[in-house]
């Protein structure tokens, strides 16, 4: 019944099915939500997003101000200014660009500006790499931005549309980062269903925001806060960021009704009766893990997969609920948290979430795909085998590393 309703909804809203890279899908979403200002600085593998947006503007398909700046620090600073003035604002970056933006990331969230940024993730220098891993986004995880990680081009398109509703929600008013695999998704073609733009614009209506710069009613943004008030402002941010999970569910319910699709803060695959779980994020790791789960199931191992889509705020409740019943789990991280108790950033979050609920489910912190080291389905199947054999829990595994 629900499936039929959703199919009916899609037939009404889909304008065409196209073969698009995730970067182009993102550009189409930015056009569909009718942004006002796009601040851009090129960096691989992000550049084709803003190139496509520039084409849309040049061709008259999108009426927006395209600001060319001299660095990523300035790109986000320009986005901060535009958003402070009430504009619907977009920018995008990767890797070193995100690093260079770092101090402005905190300013955007501290000023409570609903900027949306796409981040096709890329490994960090040195040594210089243009290939994919999630080191860049992991360095930005505690900056007060909401962070969603997409696993398909369609999801990236849908998520940008949802991101503006979330960012501009009065209980949130925070910037949102939407990440996905650089190259492995940013530059590969997938089928994407694009929506009629009037439906998208109906879903993301313009609303009045609080505390916007307006000469008719002047305010000051970016003023000094003394020790008497600073803490309260930062606590407001923490509360607003934690509101994101509930707002995401609310926004997704409406999205599902209008567009016939939803993803949730986490996505489970064959997890209901699973003894062993893989936990992943992004496109390639999730795709490999899904096939490995199928392979394990064919061989009689009850394996399942949990994909984390909402990374900040961390959706502890659904993750703990999903893992509470398994015998063991492994988190596949595509970044190294150097010198940490465990090298996997997501593993640390999952372990903390379980511990805070008083649970001690055995787990393995797996690192893979660093600098786009090839990941194979067999690698992930091997991890499931280890879990099933009771081997390696509480340990660390650097998969794909040459000895």
């Amino acid at each position: 019944m629900l499936a039929e309703l959703q199919r009916g909804a899609r037939e009404r809203v889909v304008s065409r099915r196209a073969g698009l890279t995730t970067n182009y899908a993102v550009a189409h979403a930015v056009k569909a939500v009718d942004v006002d200002v796009v601040a851009v600085y090129p960096i691989t593998p992000q550049t084709t997003i803003v190139e496509k947006i520039a084409e849309f503007i040049h061709g008259g398909e999108l009426r927006a101000e395209l600001i060319h700046v001299e660095s990523e620090h300035s790109a986000l600073s320009a986005a901060v200014g535009a958003a402070a003035a009430g504009a619907r604002t977009f920018t995008a970056t990767s890797s070193q660009g995100l690093e260079y933006m770092h101090e402005v990331l905190h300013i955007a969230s501290g000023l409570r500006l609903p900027i949306v940024m796409a981040v096709p993730t890329r490994a960090l220098s040195a040594p210089i790499s243009i290939h994919n891993d999630y080191s860049d986004i992991m360095n930005a995880r505690d900056t007060g931005w909401a962070i969603l990680i997409a696993s398909t081009a369609q999801e990236a398109y849908d998520t940008v549309i949802q991101a503006y509703r979330i960012a501009e929600h009065p209980d949130v008013q925070l910037p949102v980062m939407m990440a996905y695999d650089g190259y492995l998704m940013s530059h590969t073609l997938e089928p994407v269903e694009l929506y009629h733009e009037e439906h998208v614009r109906g879903f993301v209506p313009r609303r009045d925001r609080r505390n916007v710069l307006d000469v008719r009613s002047p305010i000051t943004l970016g003023a000094f806060a003394t020790p008497d008030n600073y803490y309260e402002f930062k606590y407001q941010q923490e509360v607003a960021l934690r509101n994101v999970e509930g707002v995401l569910r609310e926004v997704e319910a409406d999205f599902a009704a209008r567009f016939g699709a939803s993803y949730g803060p986490v996505e489970a695959y064959r997890l209901e009766d699973a003894d062993y779980a893989l936990v992943t994020y992004g496109g390639a790791a999730t795709g490999n893990a899904r096939m490995a789960v199928d392979m394990a199931r064919e061989r009689g191992i009850r394996a399942g997969l949990l994909r984390v889509r909402l990374y900040r705020p961390f959706p502890s409740a659904p993750i703990v609920a999903a893992l509470a019943g398994v015998k063991a789990f492994a988190v596949i991280d595509r970044a190294i948290a150097y010198g940490s108790p465990a090298p996997g950033p997501l593993y640390k979050d999952v372990a903390t979430a379980l511990y805070m609920e008083g649970l001690t489910v055995p787990g393995i912190s797996v690192v893979h795909g660093i600098g786009q080291r090839a990941m194979y389905v067999e690698d992930f199947y091997g991890v499931i085998r280890m879990l099933a054999e009771g081997a390696g829990t509480g340990k660390v595994l650097f998969l794909g590393l040459r000895e």
Binding site: G110, L111, R112, L113, Q173, R210, N211, P218, I219, T220, L221, G222, A223, A225, D228, N229, E232, F233, Y235, Q236, V239, A240
Partner: protein, 102 residues
Amino acid sequence: MSGWRGLPIGAAVLRPGSTADNVTGTWRVVRPIIDQERCIRCGICWAYCPDGSILELKRGYTTRGGKSYEVTYEVDYDHCKGCGICANECPVKAIEVVPEAK
């Protein structure tokens, strides 16, 4: 003082100019003193003060030499930080900067 719920989000200051409510001159270590006898009412100190702490008062003054002015410039010591720009810019050296500590 407001709890976290009562403060405007994003640390916005909703009333322009409200800094004037705060006594910010307390960290001053030197104080400018205007000699009303030497002052020629050119307004340069008023224009140069980075903190709007030179007050232009509609109050007449007659020097001992018999010259009359319609305005008087005074320092707003609640907000003056003691930077000394006024004294530096004064074309007739009518502003002296003296230590706050005696």
